[in-house]
Symmetry: C2
């Protein structure tokens, strides 16, 4: 035991959970926010921006790239990373849909005798 039992859940549940888990680290949030802020590609200033080692940043970038939300292209000795607009939009809608599903019920929840 110890591994997530993905087979118990739907494809959609696993997908949303995967995206959420990828966003579930402040370094990766910071990377994405930085990319959003400059609204362009970044090449080498990530090590100064975050306080982490180069190898660690590379790992986080790899996860975000695996998720598809960022893309990298080689530019000489450095690599340009930027947000993939399509995937960003797709995930945005996924979260929107998830959160939009809930409507605040007028009747109070978890009142005695309700269950």
């Amino acid at each position: 035991m110890g591994a997530t039992k993905t087979d118990l859940f739907t494809k959609e549940q696993n997908e949303l959970a995967n995206i959420a888990r990828a966003l579930g680290h402040p370094a990766r949030i910071a990377i994405l926010q930085h990319l959003v802020k400059i609204n362009a590609c970044i090449c080498n200033d990530l090590k100064n921006e975050l306080g982490l080692a180069q190898a660690t940043i590379s790992q986080h970038l790899k996860e975000l790239k695996n998720l598809g939300i960022i893309q990298g292209s080689i530019d000489g000795t450095s690599i340009c990373y930027c947000i993939d607009p399509k995937v960003w939009e797709e995930y945005k809608i996924l979260f929107q849909t998830f959160f939009a599903g809930y409507q605040n019920p007028d009747k109070k929840c978890c009142e005695p005798g309700q269950c």
Copy 2:
């Protein structure tokens, strides 16, 4: 090493990452979706709904309760869980804001010579 270096990041980044990580498991997504679907409190049918052991479900519920997105109230021998509308709305806006920050730039990203 091995622990996340939360001190390197802002409170907002850590908060968003924490929420995302809590959503980063299909069982917890499934629990929330189930709560959304019935739009009321649940008391005991979670073990049948998911295929996990009671102890495991209890753990996931605890995490969601710690996050604040669900609340539980005692009803006899069972416990009613339901979504906390305020927190749900708060997190909904947090993710909306995060995703809304990015505007698809008109110029192509990661073109040669751009960096």
